[in-house]
Amino acid sequence: MRRQLPFVLVFLSGFFMIFQYFVPHQKSEFVYEFLLDWLTIIGGFAMALGIWSLIRVSYDRIKRQRENWGYSVITLTGLFLMMFFGITNWEDGSFGVYIYTAEGLSNSMFVHFFDFILIPIQATMFSLLAFFIASAAYRAFRARSVIASLLLLAALIVMMRFNPIFGAWIETVANWLMNVPNLAAQRAIVIGLGLGMVATALKIILGIERGYMGQG
């Protein structure tokens, strides 16, 4: 009973959504949007689980003085400071409940944290890609086989598409590669992928695929 009932719920909600797709009536759209709201709200509650896990793991590391435990102190400091700024109203010097305005969360310390800590690290992490795309190219683009050579050749042509050493032909070839074989391959992948997803979704609704519930 405990194990079977959730699968009944999976089937019912899945079947309803399929049914809903074919019914354009306002009443069916209303339920659809309503359920969508539910999802975000449940997601809001799930946040607490995540934060709890983060705190527990960090605290555990500090308590047992595991390797690098000092850094977990930094994690927790960052976490609690940001939370504090996020729910208090700093501006008026009153630490009451934060006032949500149309402009969003405007506690200036919260904004500073975002602009000068989150954004720089995030942008820099992202920019590491410039280095990694170079090192991956160097490491992996070796003409070991036909397949590897094709990969290498296509990459070289597209990368050199605006290099003045080569004639205008290289740009033409690069554009052709991006427009023709690319389109074919994308479509083949999309179709296979679509069917894979459709099949998995169907298996979930029918209760054949149960791995995600822990071996059902």
């Binding site: 400071l81 942008a123 190219a137």
Partner: protein, 267 residues
């Protein structure tokens, strides 16, 4: 070893302080110059700390990483709290709470107690006994999206692709004579355009053959599958090469921050 660490650390601290003071002094005239100077210097320090990871893992990277993890988790939690729970849910349930949080009241809908119950059931995971109850909200979420995905992908990734694979082989066909007398290799010529359609058509079919799982890839089938993987590889190579430009721009963005906003070396 210990000694070098201390030297490096104190070096960084001194550089940080110098940068802070210099930056603060250069910003005099603006509001809170030394706060601004500190923030910019700190952002630059974090940027360099992340870049130092390219050399090897080190305490500065660890510092940035852990700070980032903690602060970003709190950021998303705060945002989720205000935007979903407070803004979406509370006005539907209680005027008193809505007033408390200063959000506009809305018409009550007691249906919204259900997601609250499901959300609370999800939190039952934390209890040893009631853990199994957390499967209920999960079942709802998974079933709901599986239903959407089932029809959604069948339509967009299958049915729709059928019609878009219908491309004409012959373009502007005015007879064989005309074709050969006007033969050209120009990118917008008849031959190249027709070739493109053929390549797309054959490419899609061979690509699909590669994705057949229940048949051995031998003989003609094997050849088609091999052509399929070739086309896939050409595509992957080309996409990889095409992305390089955008990624370099990201790096340039960070370098601009360091050299312009922080050091002021570029005007």
């Amino acid at each position: 070893m210990k000694k070098t660490s201390v030297i490096i650390l104190s070096g960084v601290v001194i550089l940080f302080l110098v940068s802070w003071l210099v930056k603060g002094a250069s910003l005099s005239g603006e509001e809170n110059p030394y706060l601004q100077g500190f923030l910019t210097t700190f952002a630059a320090f974090l940027t360099l700390a992340v870049f130092s990871f390219l050399y090897r893992d080190n305490p500065f990277y660890k510092f940035a990483e852990h700070l980032f993890v903690g602060a970003s988790a709190a950021y998303w939690m705060t945002l989720g709290f205000w935007q979903t729970l407070v803004k979406k849910l509370i006005p539907k349930l209680s005027d008193g709470l809505a007033n408390f949080f200063e959000v506009p009241t809305e018409e009550h809908s007691y249906w919204y107690f259900l997601p609250v119950i499901l959300g609370l059931l999800l939190l039952m995971r934390l209890s040893k006994k009631g853990g199994w109850l957390s499967r209920w909200p999960l079942a709802f979420i998974v079933g709901y999206t599986a239903g959407i995905n089932f029809v959604g992908y069948l339509r967009s990734d299958f049915v729709k692709q059928v019609s878009s694979t219908f491309v004409p082989l012959l373009i502007d066909w005015q007879g064989v004579g005309h074709f050969f007398s006007n033969f050209s290799l120009a990118i917008d010529g008849q031959f190249v355009m027709m070739l493109a359609n053929v390549v797309i058509f054959v490419g899609v079919l061979c690509g699909l053959v590669y994705f057949f799982f229940s048949k051995e890839h031998t003989g003609l089938f094997g050849t088609a599958s091999r052509v399929g993987i070739w086309i896939l590889m050409i595509t992957f190579g080309a996409s990889f090469g095409y992305t390089v430009m955008g990624r370099i721009s990201l790096l340039v963005g960070r370098l601009t921050f360091l050299f312009k906003d922080w050091l002021g070396l570029i005007s």
